[in-house]
Amino acid sequence: MIQTNFDVLFQSLICILFSGALVAVLLHKLGRPIAWISFAIAFIGSLLGILLSIDVILNDPITLGWSLGTFFGEWTLYLDQLSAFFLFMVCLVMASVSVYSFGYVGEYEGKYDTGLMGALLNLFFLSLVLVVSSNNAILFLISWESMSLVSFLLVMYEGRKEGVTNAGYLYLTMTHIGTAVMTAAFLLMAYYVGSYSFDDISAASGSLPSSVSSAAFLFLFIGLGTKAGMVPLHVWLPAAHPAAPSNISALMSGVMVKMALFMMVRSFFEFLGPVPSWWGLLVLLMGCISALLGVLYALKETDIKSTLAYSTVENMGIMFIGLGTAMVFQSYGLTSLSALALLATLFHALNHAIFKSLLFLGAGSVVHATHTRNMESMGGLAKPMPRTSVLMFVGLLSMAAIPPLGGFVSEWLLFQSLLQTTAVPDILVKMLMSVSIAILALTGALAVAMAVRLFGTTFLARPRTEQAKNAVESPKTMLWGMSFLAALCILLGVLSSWIIPYIDNVTESVLGVSIGSSVVDGLSISPESNDFATMAPLLIALLALIGIVMAWVLGHPKSGTERTSGTWDCGTPLSSRNEYTGTALSNPIVRVFGNIYRPQSEIRTESTSSPYIRKRLFYEVHFGDVFERRIYHPITILFTGIAKRMTVIQAGSIQAYLGYIFMMLVLLLVVFR
């Protein structure tokens, strides 16, 4: 009886989102009211989705009652534990984004079509639901493509702004290269299996010739890696995520990149069968590179949203480290260790979804208040925007993996699973794993620096511009949306010993072993055996709280002994010019890692008659993305060159074009007769 009810829930979720989009498209001329209605619909949809996914994770997989017979097999929607977990993530973020959007859409009132944003938001939600629940390769690719296209439209939403169009087209190109490579992988699999249905493909896993499964693995890894922002395929991500409106950036960085992780877990473990260890090592290696370069590039950005976008690259790298570790363990038959690493990866994915969308929403509030994305034009926002500052602070603590927040717990689990490498028999693999421990630790430390830099430059010291001085706190709905996520950041960490068993259900559905009972013991979490290590996040939180309260009681200045006065200024009045900017703050780190950044800086001086007295000093520093310069730029030149040569045949006469089409057709018929 209950089962049927949840079927209905699934059907109504799809219908609600579809009708929400449809209504908003038809009535988008009405502007803000229709936007509000569609946000409300998205909110209701996400509540339904949360219920639905919790039910699936706890009980059994369900299918949508309806299906569509096509040439490529029967299309229907199917939710198992893994897809439900990602659906849960999507819905949590969507719930707060839709509440946040109520206030945020005011920013665009009268400038852009707000009704359209509501429609696109619903469509985006729908496509995300379809991506996680498709049961057929072709349906999946169609959903994937619609997700990419809708998000492209959303990136282009502020199309009249400078740079947005470039970012949008870069995104469109990269995502299509990715989709093309993925299509090749799925066609390859479907050709050997003889069916497009995911059920048949996973049933036939292991029967594929190893060369075919390796080729499919590489194609999928490249294709999905493009969407996940894996270095060196990441170039679009720091351009496109910041260009979108902030509520959309939150969705893109928080959940859309996770869709790639979802499909990787599904295809690497379920479709492509027994994993050879080099697959795992490749994923691990790319993860290490993405994590380290992602955080290093984030440290040079002055654009608040680009910083966060690079941090997404970093965090996807961390997830790849976890996924790669899981694959390596799996290849040596260490299934329970593999489950531990996968559990850590999935938990980190959930944490990242929550804190990154919180941070993007926070960045949206800040941009909303100051009308600039440049952190160095902000400063001092903690005073006019105290609530936003506290909420963003919580997100940054989680991002910097400060105990006992969610980000810390997942990083802890990841460290623990990497430390279990002693069980792997191959010495070379062990050494590579120890290097990745080092890289993970270095990334963690740099992420702290990045979080500090973001908060310090944006919220602390004096305002650097008039806009920052006149900033006001965001509307209530925006704060509510963020508060929900901030609360989750804390709860995911503090209550992790209650949450992890449910994620264990998910890994169990993928790998077939349950490790929940050995990982969680009462309040404490431990890897595999209690002897290795234990950690109790709730107790850490309690102890820290007691410590802070005691420190306050014993150590706070007695009333009357505290005085407010100016900052020590060495005799010259301080202005906002005296305080450190973000660039200055990270400059020592940039110098240390100079070989990676290769910054080009220029100092010009304008002297008066005496060379010792300078009127003005100009300092300029440029950071080029190495990959953009070394890989993408030459390719672009090559292709535009070829395209220019080809203009010879593009005479503009329709007869000639028809002739080309006919020739092509004949050629194809001859080749594939």
Binding site: F408, A445, L460, E579
Partner: protein, 316 residues
Amino acid sequence: MVHDMIISSVFAVVQALAMLALSPLMIGVIRKIKAWFQGRKGASIVQPYYDMAKLFRKETVVSDQASWVFRVTPYVAIASVMVAALLVPFFTIYSLGFVGDLIVVIYLMTMFKFFMVLAGLDTGSAFGGMGSSRELMVSSIVEPTMLLAIFTMALITGTTNLSSISETLAISGIDLVRPALFLATAAFFISLLAENARVPFDNPSTHLELTMIHEAMVLEYSGRNLALMEAASWMKLMLYSVILSNVFFPWGIATDLTVLGMIGGIAAILVKVLFVAIAIAIIESGMAKMRLFRLPNLLTLSFTLALLAVTSYYIL
């Protein structure tokens, strides 16, 4: 089980308080030895206690530019070191190891740093920013070094719980000594100097100079706030010295509840910490502070040592 937990908790609290109480003494000893090296008589070794008492009675001045971050930082600082102290074995191997392991300890220290660096930025003075910026550079290399160094010990002993590391090493003795242990010790000692703002990374006796790191960040604190920040920093030095002593050379630590063992444990840890203090004082007397951009060389050296330590565990 419950009985063990209660014993561990009691000992953890006693040991954390003992570390807190002894940390000013360690600073006093270091200052005294440095004074001897400089041919001075030097202040009494209990002088830091007087300083602390005086700061507690003084008026607190808070900058008008400061936000809530500046005000909460002292309490978070002292709380984070105290929670970390509960997880570290001092004279016995009993601690709250089941609440958190070495990763938790290192990340609690990061929490302290996170707040302190932000507090340095908060008042909007160039000094604060300077200190914060340099601290970020130093700590971004030191933190992974420390993690790797202790991970080496974790791999050797098969646990990341600090108490269990001490226990395993102390009981099994010389069998577990490997080359990795010495590499890791060297790396950890360099990190200890860097993390606690000692020479050659920073000079703890500078005030209002352009070379400051730690002092620059706490420059705006005064009165009770400064007292808390100083206590937290002293405690941090104590904590790292204890970790160095008990994780890398735990021999002598009390592994059971006998009176004799306890007395032996107390004597052993006091001697070891005194030894660390003497080493720090000798280095500070014999070396000059390094130029800021020479620091990364030393830091990456220690990082490489730590990485070698982990790798050599697998090879050798």
